[in-house]
């Protein structure tokens, strides 16, 4: 839970940074739902599995990363040598 962190306020700081990344993704043109933060301790294996399942379903619903798709097409055409972001 927020503030209940091995590194004291570490997860509160992490939440701010995740919010920053979500905002940046929107500006870039990607869905902010591609990044998400879950609060849990290392002893909560069941919750971790549940969160992983939830995130997988969420990402699957959004669909593939359009950058990855676009890059693959370009790579096939041999027009772009940039690596995937």
């Amino acid at each position: 839970m927020p503030g209940d962190c091995h590194y004291l306020e570490g997860n509160v700081n992490a939440k701010r940074r995740v919010d920053y990344i979500k905002d940046l993704l929107v500006k870039i043109g990607l869905e902010p739902e591609r990044v998400r933060m879950f609060y849990m301790s290392s002893a909560q294996a069941a919750q971790f599995a549940e969160a992983a399942k939830e995130m997988t379903e969420q990402i699957a619903a959004i669909g593939p990363n359009p950058l990855r798709t676009r890059i693959s097409v370009e790579e096939q055409n041999g027009t772009d040598e940039q690596t995937s972001e």
Binding site: L24, K27, I28, L67, E85
Partner: protein, 228 residues
């Protein structure tokens, strides 16, 4: 240090236009410390522009490099080849860095990625405040080390004005009254008699009001660089 803020990604995209090769240049000094234009920020901006351009359907080749100081020719020389190879350079330096690139590379189109804000310091992590207005004639010795030029909204030399209320400025209750700060500090140090010296009007010729400024130090000049 010089404090700057990043322009929006939208404005940066507009500034670089449809250039194919874009070089984002970070600066390792002031803007690194205020988290607006250092190596980390240059990499993030570069990556963001690269991704955004691909999503827009017009992929741009965006790379980044950071020099120790954009405001000195020697450091810019180290990346001369990369600068000359770029269609446009997006500088994440302060306004001085942008102009240094423009001056040193006359054939290069350079645009700013930052808004240079002021000279100040971090008062807390993530908060920066103005402290110096570079007026060119420092009076901190008369004001207990607190600058009324930079910190009083009216730059008063003999304050406070009538708008000071409970230690705050009338323009914004979140702004400290600089003259209250000055009085409190002098009082604490037993030096309030300093305030009895009424300051005459300041000669602003040494500030921006006197036009662009320049300092020449004959003792530091090199013979072969001396002007006629």
């Amino acid at each position: 240090m010089i404090i700057a803020e990043q322009k929006s990604l939208e404005e940066m995209k507009s500034l670089i236009g449809d250039a194919h090769k874009v070089l984002v240049v970070g600066c390792g000094t002031c803007v690194t410390v205020c988290f607006s234009g250092g190596a980390r920020e240059a990499a993030i901006v570069s990556s963001s522009l690269r991704m955004a351009s691909k999503l827009d359907g017009h992929p741009q080749e965006v790379t980044d490099v950071t020099v120790q100081r954009q405001c000195e020719w020697e450091y810019l020389d180290e990346i001369a080849d990369q600068i000359k190879d770029a269609d446009v350079v997006l500088s994440l330096g302060c306004g001085i860095g942008v102009q240094a690139i423009a001056e040193h590379f006359p054939d290069t189109w350079v645009v700013p990625g930052l808004n240079t804000s002021f000279m100040g310091l971090p008062t807390e992590q993530g908060i920066w405040a103005e402290r110096c207005a570079a007026c060119g004639d420092c009076i901190l010795g008369l004001t207990g080390g607190i600058c009324p030029i930079a910190r009083c909204s009216k730059s008063l030399l003999n304050g406070p004005c009538g708008g000071s209320e409970n230690g705050h400025c009338e323009i914004n209750p979140e702004v400290d009254c600089a003259w209250q700060l000055i009085y409190d500090r002098l009082n604490k140090m037993g030096k309030t008699e300093v305030l009895l010296n009424i300051q005459p009007p300041k000669n602003w010729k040494t500030a921006r009001d006197g036009g662009p400024r320049k300092i020449v130090r004959p003792d530091l000049r090199l013979e072969d660089e001396e002007e006629d």
